[in-house]
Symmetry: C2
Subunit: 253 residues, 2 copies
């Protein structure tokens, strides 16, 4: 079997390869060839951790397995470890034997970035010029970097609940040679594409923050109870999702 430690992933997986993999699996899911199992996510009552399993089967790509792990909110402060910790386990779909164990942290970052990036490729307007970021944490940098490869963006605008984190995404914009501007939420009306990647439990993105025709990739809601987007905005949108069952129960991711 293959054992791929976390430290090797960055040298093995490119943004292009993860984009390609996510695009293919979304297509396989739409065709009914691949699906996710119900998600297990448990507050285990220790270290305030959320732990669980996200499994699935791609019957066409013959990929079977799960990601196990979760969110340990005290990791960084107590142990200088990242709070999100996950490991991917693959199984041989012909025999049920375990076939690979793969560090899942960087993989998750790239995969999550690829997911919104695939949605932008296929759903955002072709002539999008202004990229809007709601959220400026660690994962937001991955989302933005991947998003900027999908259109000829001329400006990035960003908002974050903690504005002192905005330099995280400003740096990514600048690396791509694109100017960055911090805006209030109302300023998002200028965006042609918006990615929301926050951890809020209260709606933040209101209907009047978003212009008609704008593509929003809602990436932050990965747990029951989380909500980024006001219901009124959802109600007037055309909604696309990778998996309905998961989206209506716990959100995305």
């Amino acid at each position: 079997m293959l054992i791929v430690p976390e430290r090797e992933i960055a040298d093995l997986l490119t943004r292009d390869a993860s984009f390609d993999a996510v695009e293919k699996v979304f297509a396989a899911m739409a065709a009914g060839d691949a699906y996710n199992f119900p998600v297990i996510r448990e507050a285990i009552g220790h270290e305030d951790a959320l732990y669980g399993f996200k499994g699935g089967f791609d019957g066409k790509g013959l990929t079977l397995g799960l990601k196990a792990g979760g969110y340990w909110p005290n990791n960084l402060e107590k142990r200088k470890l990242i709070n999100h910790q996950s490991t991917v386990f693959l199984f041989d779909p012909d025999t049920g034997k375990v076939s690979a164990m793969v560090g899942g942290n960087y993989l998750t970052a790239l995969r999550t970035a690829a997911a919104s990036s695939v949605s932008i490729k296929h759903l955002a307007r072709r002539d999008a010029k202004v990229m809007g970021m709601i959220g400026a944490g660690h994962q937001a940098t991955f989302q933005l970097r991947a998003a900027l490869e999908q259109r000829e963006f001329e400006k990035v605008i960003g908002w974050n609940y903690h504005p002192e984190m905005l330099p995280n995404i400003e740096k990514i914009a600048n690396e791509a040679g694109i100017p960055f501007e911090a805006v209030p939420l109302e300023g998002m009306v200028e965006a042609d594409v918006v990615i929301s990647i926050t951890s809020t439990f209260a709606p933040t993105v209101m209907a009047n923050h978003i212009s008609a025709g704008t593509h929003i990739a809602c990436m932050g809601t990965d747990t029951k109870g989380k909500q980024e987007v006001e219901s009124a905005l959802l109600a007037k949108s055309t909604v696309f999702t990778d998996e309905v069952a998961q989206s209506i129960s716990i959100g995305a991711n």
Copy 2:
């Protein structure tokens, strides 16, 4: 981290140690310190396999993780591999990092045997003399071997849907120096302790097959739809279970 391949387990884990572990975790569950997560079990539509995850957390023993795998019914015939295939993954409950990967096949056999054995120790009458086996497959041999250590049994009686498999368990009885007798289901009235370990979806053990005061360990029902024991028998029994939520939804295991 620890990686323990399947072939090493038999030399590492004894029946006594697995009995002890299962007894401790049942006590921890009863005390509210340990619990199982909801079980995922999916017919993946490939090789007729059932695949899924059984996870849980023992907050007292600080053991966190899951067993992943399932049932590949064509393994033995097609590939000379056992049909039940599983792997155990443990995680550090303080950090969420994976800490161990352990072959789960022999582990499952010993654990399942320990479960009924613990129930016999604590719930069967002290002076039990006749041990009854309903089922005579591979796992039945593990159940019987462990059960025989719990009381001074003087006879083993057995029934199996395919009687040609009864020598499997006769052999175990004889190894323990105890005579074996094949009986019809009606003959089970003689038993003081019964273990049912079949894969039936229709009730097999009827109320009139079991005498008052007999302890039955129902081990075969591990999936929605399976049933070993007639409702009328359950209705007149005193029922004990490791976990109510799991027992009323998918059965034991």
